[in-house]
Symmetry: C2
């Protein structure tokens, strides 16, 4: 596995951002189109400050971008493509499969 | 996106388990073969209790399994294949690309 990857702070924060069902819900909602902080608050039963906090965590890792539109703040999906996250998981799966192959070979041998 | 997925507690806990560089490091180390709690403590500069805490979080989501071997507790990669995590990310990327296509079409139109 890539040694460099496991000290990657963006990776930490990306996985953390995805670990909350409300934050994943906000991303799913924004997949349908932009929304203001106020429009996100109601369906999730959150206060404006609650939404702002979640959006801030998503914004930090480029999963969301926001812009002032009149008196509202509009949120939309950001440029993050989650390459680091999928890259780490893919590496992990390859290691896992290699271990499984080795275990299979061992079982064959002791049969 | 799958509505059912975003209330998935295992998904929350899996992303949370992966959000820590020490926990990812432990998984990378176990990719090379099983290790006891004591063997994991030294390279990561952790106490036995520190390792136990991280291993417990990984064990909860089947990323690690542990077994008592003599007086030690041996850790190895668990059966979790991270399907839910990669499934969510794949769905997200598809939505993201769809939005990008729509934006491209819009740019074409206003040209």
């Amino acid at each position: 596995m890539h040694r460099s990857v496991h000290n990657n702070e963006t990776l930490d924060r990306t996985f953390f951002a995805l670990s909350d069902p409300t934050r994943r819900g906000i991303l799913e909602r924004l997949g349908g189109g932009p929304a203001t902080i106020g429009e996100l608050a109601e369906p999730f039963g959150l206060t404006l400050n609650g939404v702002k906090k979640h959006v801030g965590i998503l914004e930090e890792v480029d999963l969301v971008i926001t812009a002032k539109v009149g008196r509202a703040r509009e949120c939309r999906l950001g440029p993050a493509q989650l390459e680091a996250a999928t890259g780490w998981i893919d590496d992990y799966r390859r290691t896992w499969e290699r271990r499984l192959d080795r275990f299979g070979a061992y079982v064959e041998k002791i049969r």
